[in-house]
Amino acid sequence: MRALNVLLKLLLKIGLLLSCIASAAHAGEAIDKTLAVKPDGVVRIDNVRGRIEVQGWDRSEVMVKGTLDDLTKSFTFETAGSTTTVKVETPDHLNRGNGSDLVIHVPSASRVRVDLVSADLTMQALHGSVEGRTVSGQIDARDLSGTIVIGSVSGRIEVTGAAGPVTFNSVSGDINAQTDAEQLRISTVSGNADIRSDARLKELTMHSVSGDLDVSSDLADGAQVRGSTTSGFIRLAVNRDVGAVVDLRTTSSGIKNLLSDDKPTREMSGGGTLDMTLGNGSGVLELTSISGRLELLAR
């Protein structure tokens, strides 16, 4: 009986050792792999820390090249149906070693979804749809189209050239973007957003808690613009010939109107209102604030 116990313990130890060896097989490993995929399929990328670069190209292949995280538990690179998965799994507690450093080429018409934790994300030449999120890393993106969603908790977001409906979400990271979007949604808590759109916006929705929102874009006929902030300021610069019913309202802060000769009304509370109709009045422009300033300017 005792001999059996010793044998079982030995087998258990050997099993654990083999499992550790298998887990460590990917740690810090150099990767250079390619899979044939559908040109307009879904590519999902998950990674915890390091740097991920996703680039669109004209081949029907996904190629992953670079180095895996020092503490990689498992690396998945597979395609099933129209979905390709690139996933680096690591332990929960990561306070030493290096993160993954990967360049991933995908068909440019792919629908790409990237979820990172403490990793920087670069995206370029992606024309399917793009969802890129990181918790504490920075995001740099250029030449994107399709439906675009970009979000970060504390990292900065820099975007150049984003056409299609664009959504920016940030908690404390600043957003700096030049887009060609006709639909734009911006949400921040304390981060500031500075957005320029070279296309005529049909829809703009923006919300911040204490972050400042600065948006400059021509508005299309019938554009719907709605924005709110608790204590940040909103500065909106639009085309002087815009047609919209305007309703700006603050509880305890100022309103500045340099788009027309209409003057805001000041209330006893220290807040103000500005109600006016510009041009043909086909659109809606509503901004609300509690203690943050509202500014309406001409481009």
Partner: protein, 181 residues
Amino acid sequence: MNERDMNERDGANPELDALIDALPRAIDPPRDLWPTINARIALQGNRARPWELAAAAVLAAVTVAAMFVGFSHDAQPRVPAPLWAYEQLDSAYQPLRHASLERYRAGADRLDPELRKTVEANLAIIDRALAEIRTALASRPSDAALGQMLQRTYDQELAIVDAVTPRQMIAPDQSHYRGAL
């Protein structure tokens, strides 16, 4: 926000500025007014009679007593006021917020200390903002834009926790909030 920030104070008026600059900084009175002012102050000080002061005190006491008696013996039976939309929203979000913050507390130790600092600073900003929005709603309870601001701010709070909570800890029924971030 002071008046300087309002629009009407922002535009410069050079003509008005020039006229203001041309005005003298001080004007001497044509004669010394202080002896007359002192005499009037002394006269007013002697006007109050003791019986007038006593009558004023009695009147004040009766007014205060009437107020408290009125408040404590309201003739109308009290009917609970219907909840405003924002109060209903508050009630609806409470369990979600509670669950979300519980989940955050359970996993907060695993976060990078810098990230944790950022998250908690922003949760505090949101908490203050919620209080500010509720105060504004208390004076304008039917303001739909403020109600939407309240809802978006709640959603942002939930989204922050979702974004930083280790994924295996996210309950399937709450995973959609990740979309808000």
